[in-house]
Symmetry: D2
Subunit: 80 residues, 4 copies
Amino acid sequence: ESANVFQSQRESLTQKLKDSESRNQTLEAQLSDLEQRLESSQQEQEAFRKSLRSLLELLDSKIFELNELRDTLAKLLEGS
Amino acid sequence: ESANVFQSQRESLTQKLKDSESRNQTLEAQLSDLEQRLESSQQEQEAFRKSLRSLLELLDSKIFELNELRDTLAKLLEGS
Amino acid sequence: ESANVFQSQRESLTQKLKDSESRNQTLEAQLSDLEQRLESSQQEQEAFRKSLRSLLELLDSKIFELNELRDTLAKLLEGS
Amino acid sequence: ESANVFQSQRESLTQKLKDSESRNQTLEAQLSDLEQRLESSQQEQEAFRKSLRSLLELLDSKIFELNELRDTLAKLLEGS
């Protein structure tokens, strides 16, 4: 009788442990997936920001060139 | 003797289950944290893109106004 | 005889004077016309330059606004 | 007596003719000066307009380049 109770308790614990470890694996897979998505998202954002910084430098040079054009017009008006 | 072996096995299984469930809680906390960081990152990105879209509209209007200025200069040169 | 010579000289001088005064009137008319054209040309130039100065001010404000847009983009990139 | 009258009339006409021709020379000099000023003014205006046309072409290219920059930003926003 006592042996049956022992058997039953051991099977119950073993099942719970199995379930818990299975849940662990699921969670670890989800975590790994999420970490990859976050890293991928950060890389995309970094590439996006890098493109925007190039665009900012281009905008700077266009504003500089418009300023030169403006100065040329101002000098033409002073000299005429 | 047999009772000791049973006792020992039950304690071992109970400890393993406890460890596994503790690991589960840690993983769930990490997952929840990561999901929040991902969501927060996506909200920041969305706000960033929204600001950039406003900036694009502003750039459009500035280019439009420079084109008007250009047409005014062209008409002045034709008429003079 | 002497009266005929006198008559002839007087007529010749009178004719030369008439021609010279006629030439004077033509020159004065040309001068007046040219002065009006010069004045009119200067007024047109002045109006043209005035329009160009307005255009220069407009260009200044467009460059100023592009600079503001550029600063907004720079701040977005720093803050993101 | 008649000879004196003739002498007086001839001198008077000769003086008037001299004055008129002197006035002619003055007017021709003024006319020539004005024509040169008008021509010089037209050459300056033409050079001024030529400079403005170069400036207009430069402005066209700057607007074109700002439009390219604008399209790059729009594509970045679509793609992100």
